[in-house]
């Protein structure tokens, strides 16, 4: 590439931008704009198909029916069983990951020697590098049989085991991001607390954690959003039976798992069944979007403080 061209000077001390430069700049900008187009594309695709979906199914049925049976002869289109399934598995995941991830983060940033921190942190992040289909296998083949020894009446497909596995998956998100937030709390805050006679524990709980609050909250909302969007683990191990229940021992179906189930069935374009996955996808997208917006609000606040 001949880049020696175009170093012409228009005025003393001012350089005209050569045309090649502007073209390159536009090219690079174009790549950046692709990400915006992607977002527009996602919203358009979801909205268009969902719009068609609601020309056949009333919004009231979608929101108030308590059954989801679009593939049966007796069709019902109530989103609640799928929303409930997503809620249940994500709730279990959060219940498992929240304390473990947070305690881990506190330990790594406040108590662990630097040497240990350097080894353990990448190990924790390794948890996020395992493909989700592998986690699905773990939930079905390893954890469910293990839990069946402990939990009576645990079905072979259930919400509990995938919930816990998703919890393991999102621990790195909570631990790593919270650790960053806690680590970033200025040392002089801690020193001030020690100077006032506070113990290490009460310094952590009364000074450091409150100071790192928005960063920690951002990590939690991001992790929950990941749990909501997680697909393969629930598609493999949760059972594919839409059911409005809070019982973690029975088979359920999440929004994501439903999309996978219908996609595998080779449903023809333009049918109502085909459109259901977009209506469900739109609901899922809205839910994660809300979580992401909250995350970014917390993250901005946290960056503002530190």
């Amino acid at each position: 590439m001949n880049l020696g061209l175009g170093l012409t000077r228009k005025l003393a001390g001012r350089r005209a931008t050569p045309p090649v430069e502007s073209i390159i700049r536009l090219f690079l900008l174009g790549f950046g704009v692709i990400s915006v187009i992607t977002t527009v594309g996602i919203i358009y695709v979801l909205a268009a198909e969902t719009f068609l979906f609601f020309s056949d199914v009333s919004l009231a049925d979608f929101l108030f029916d308590t059954e989801w049976t679009p593939l049966f002869a007796d069709k019902h289109f109530g989103i609640w069983p799928l929303l409930g399934g997503t809620f249940l598995s994500s709730f279990i995941a959060a219940l498992f990951a929240l304390p473990l991830g947070l305690l881990g983060a506190i330990y790594l940033s406040e108590f662990a020697p630097e040497r240990i921190r350097k080894i353990v942190k990448p190990m924790v992040e390794l948890l996020a590098g395992i493909p989700t289909v592998v986690y699905g296998y773990f939930a079905l083949v390893f954890l469910t049989p293990a839990l069946q020894n402990v939990v009576p009446d645990l079905s072979g497909f259930n919400a509990l085991s995938p919930g816990i596995i998703i919890g393991i998956m999102i621990i790195p998100t909570i631990a790593s991001l919270s650790e960053d937030a806690i680590y970033a709390v200025p040392v002089n805050l801690r020193e001030g607390a020690y100077a006032l006679g506070a113990s290490r524990l009460s310094t952590v709980f009364h000074v450091v954690l409150p100071a790192a609050r928005s960063g920690i909250l951002a990590s939690v909302t991001l992790a929950v959003s990941r749990a909501i969007g997680e697909t393969m683990v629930v598609a493999i191990a949760a059972g594919q039976q839409p059911r409005l229940t809070l019982d973690p021992r029975v088979p359920i179906e999440t929004m994501t798992a439903y999309i996978v189930k219908v996609s595998m069935g080779d449903t023809p374009t333009g049918t109502l069944e085909y459109r259901t996955i977009f209506a469900v996808g739109a609901t899922l997208f809205l839910l994660t979007l809300v979580m992401n917006v909250i995350t970014q609000r917390f993250a901005r606040k946290y960056r503002g403080v530190v």
Binding site: S35, Y107, V120, L126, V133, L140, T231, I259, F285
Partner: protein, 286 residues
């Protein structure tokens, strides 16, 4: 009295630290237990026949060849598509991004895209690439979908790598009369390439394990041929695993375990390569 209080608070602290260590150990131990379990289940199934055979209704004669080849094609195509786009966008944001509204919009947008569930990208790919663009269930449709999926991560990783290059070098280049692109192309990029490579390998290798978007765009589960060109139908290793996991027979679960081992080894290799590049790079800068 005072000493008693101090002793109690120290004991409390020790207890708390113990609790913290247990919280870290529980998920890590579970992961290692599961990895060992899958290794024990799968290792006996891995042999030349398994790696070079097509799927079969009989578990004992089934293999992962189409999945392996499909995944290889898919990842190369994804890299070819997403790398220029991601690096280009990152260069724009880091080196050209006058804090304008557009740069800001792109930035917020990338952060949001990174949080969109992968299955939604599948829906996007299904409508745009498979149906609208008429690519059908081809490798190209799969690679394009995965490219959009990894794009935000590639952009973020590349920006990190660009930020490591000292600002003074840029200023020196500009002071010597280089144009912005000359500065980027001759000064910044040569220094940032190892970092970009590391980030790119790590983020694109994640596409290797992606299953949900490929299932949604309709990757096949039973393939008895190898893909010939980007328009071929295909399967991928994670799809094959999903297919075997979904079957009730124990023999197929064993196949799934073996295929998982292969997938994990490939991922591990990608990570090792990335780390080696990073270490070399750090040495050079130091």
């Amino acid at each position: 009295m005072k000493r008693h209080v101090r002793k109690w608070s120290r004991r409390k602290e020790t207890l708390f630290i113990g609790l913290c260590i247990v919280s870290l150990a529980v998920p890590l131990c579970l992961l290692f237990a599961m990895l060992i379990d899958v290794a024990l289940d799968g290792i006996s199934r891995i042999d030349w026949q398994f790696l070079t055979s097509y799927p079969s209704r009989r578990a004992s004669s089934a293999g992962i060849l189409p999945g392996l080849v499909g995944s290889a094609f898919l990842i190369v195509l994804t890299a070819v598509i997403s790398l220029p786009m991601g690096v280009g966008a990152a260069i724009y944001l880091e080196e050209y991004g006058e804090r304008g509204r557009l740069a800001n919009l792109i930035e917020v947008n990338i952060a949001n895209l990174a949080g969109v569930p992968s299955v939604i990208y599948g829906l996007l790919g299904l409508e745009i690439f498979v149906r609208f663009a008429g690519l059908d269930r081809s490798l190209l449709a799969g690679a394009l979908t995965l490219s959009l999926l990894v794009l935000p991560v590639v952009i973020m990783a590349t920006r990190e790598a660009l930020r490591v290059v000292p600002k003074t070098l840029r200023e020196a280049a500009l002071a010597l009369g280089a144009t912005r692109w000359q500065m980027v192309w001759r000064v910044v990029l040569p220094m940032a390439v190892p970092g970009i490579m590391t980030g790119a390998i790590l983020s694109i290798s994640r596409a290797l394990g992606e299953t949900a978007p490929l299932v949604v765009i309709g990757a096949l589960t039973y393939v008895s041929f190898l893909p010939q060109d980007p328009m071929s139908a295909f399967t991928a290793l994670p799809i094959q695993i999903f297919n075997w996991v979904s079957r009730p027979q124990a023999a197929f679960l064993e196949n799934a375990a073996a295929a998982i081992l292969v997938l994990l080894v490939v991922l591990l290799l990608a990570n090792v390569v990335a780390i080696v590049i990073r270490n070399r790079y750090q040495k050079r800068i130091g």
